[in-house]
Amino acid sequence: MPARLISIFAPLAVGILFLLLWQGICYFWHIPPYLMPAPSDIARSLFSNIDTLGHALYSTLTVTLAALCVSVVLGVLVAFVLVQHPLIERSLMPYVVLMQVTPVVALAPLIIILVKTTLLALVICATLIAIFPIISNTLQGLKSVDPGLEAFFRMHKASRLKTLLRLQIPSALPMFMAGLQISSGLALVGAVVAEFVAGTGGNSAGLAYEILQAGFQMDIPRMFAALFMITLTGLALYMATSSIRKLVLHNRVEH
């Protein structure tokens, strides 16, 4: 069997085996669904609540993607500003790090109180978490320009704009793509965290809010169903960014 198929079917087989085992344990020991729901209970809950869960997914996805877009635009912009001069980087980088090391969970309640529009507040929280890898990776990428090529551009008297477009941006692309992939995962984490915080105030609609609500009602299968959808979203984001990365960089690897 070709390696490609193995890499798809082998993990799939492990997953199915795991679900069967789980189902079997719940069945034979008669574990009640409110303690540990069997995969079949979760699936049933998923289908019976598909409307609400679908809406919740839509809401979480909106926040995640909006935060990812804002992170990319702002993060790249910040990286470009930082790379202009070592002095700018030295003066501003500590604040970028400060923003990164401050746990956004601690900041989220404040943001949600201050920002009246819930959606905007959620996007701000998720962006605060997701933006750092974009900034740091793009910055590293912009600085990773081949010194020989840089000398070549200088020798040919290339303008600043041409050097940026033809040398710096393409050089930064691999690092940026790696940052994008990390950031897409973090945007989802940020969206979920923000929804939890906002959800305790009762004015949210995402998947985290569904988990909270299901928890209040002791509807454990629905909790699992919402969790399942979050995981699936994360996986989809990972695969999407990974494909984009491969598509953009496929010429640079030896084959």
Binding site: D146, R154, H156, R166, L167, R252, E254
Partner: protein, 263 residues
């Protein structure tokens, strides 16, 4: 006054860390000369080349390019190309676009540059690989792309820093012959660094033997420019004599470098 391509007037290079890469050097390079630089490693060969390419500024002294300042370089009949030790290609661009780069930077439109790129690729026998990416090429092919990129501007002065160091001897000999043919045909002045004295003997009309601590020109050796540089020359007694002479000079230069280091 005879026109010089490059005139170096007591140019000296001391790096910010205090290392003197090059003691004051005075040297004139005339049109159609082919100068080979040999010498032990660390004797300032690359530093000298970078001064000429304006990638380093001299700490004292000055240089002129075609009796003018560097601002005039790049204009008609004052074109300079540099082949680095590494291929330094853009991994994200095809061979064709890599070769086209200097023309793009000059603002020449792709329609005008296309035939010139094609011609440069033909010189290095890479026309068939124009649409490949650097990652798909062997080391020798990458180096040939780098040479095509240097030739596409039709340079009047070509600088090369150990360009074929990583290639096998056969490939290297073939490229040397191509360069020799090119120099004979065009109004091309050549200055190259090599660690192979055979290469220096084969291509040069003048060999500079350099020594270190500090970097300086230790000896000059002239080779009759009228000798055609081909396979026949490589097998001749003249060539063997030149290689012997250069070999002796190189040994003396290394000894002088060592003595200077101890002192």
């Amino acid at each position: 006054m005879q026109e010089t391509v490059i005139s170096i007037q007591s140019a000296e290079k001391t790096f910010p860390n205090g290392v003197q890469g090059l003691a004051p050097i005075t040297l004139d390079i005339h049109p159609k000369e082919r100068i080979g630089l040999i010498g032990p490693s660390g004797c300032g060969k690359s530093t000298l080349l970078k001064l000429i390419a304006n990638l380093h500024q001299p700490s004292s002294g000055y240089l002129t390019w075609w009796n003018k300042g560097f601002a005039e370089v790049g204009k008609e009949n004052r074109r300079l190309s540099f082949v680095f030790q590494e291929p330094t290609l853009m991994p994200w661009s095809t061979v064709r676009k890599n070769v086209r780069l200097p023309l793009d930077l000059e603002g020449i439109s792709p329609d005008v540059s296309a035939p010139r790129v094609q011609q440069a690729l033909e010189i290095v026998s890479l026309a068939h690989a124009a649409d490949r990416f650097p990652a798909q090429l062997s080391g020798g092919m990458k180096m040939r792309v780098s040479i095509a990129r240097a030739l596409v501007t039709r340079p009047n002065l070509l600088l090369m820093d150990e360009p074929f160091g990583a290639l096998d001897e056969l490939t290297r000999n073939r490229l040397d012959e191509d360069i020799a043919t090119l120099c004979a045909k065009d109004d091309l002045t050549l200055l190259f660094v090599t660690h192979s004295l055979y290469e220096a003997a084969f291509l040069s009309t003048r060999v500079m033997v350099m020594a270190a601590h500090p970097g300086r020109i230790f000896a000059e050796y002239e080779i009759d420019p009228s000798i055609p540089r081909n396979e026949e020359f490589r097998l001749s007694d003249t060539f063997a004599t030149i290689c012997q002479d250069l070999s002796k000079l190189l040994i003396q230069a290394s000894q002088s470098s060592l003595l200077a280091e101890v002192a």
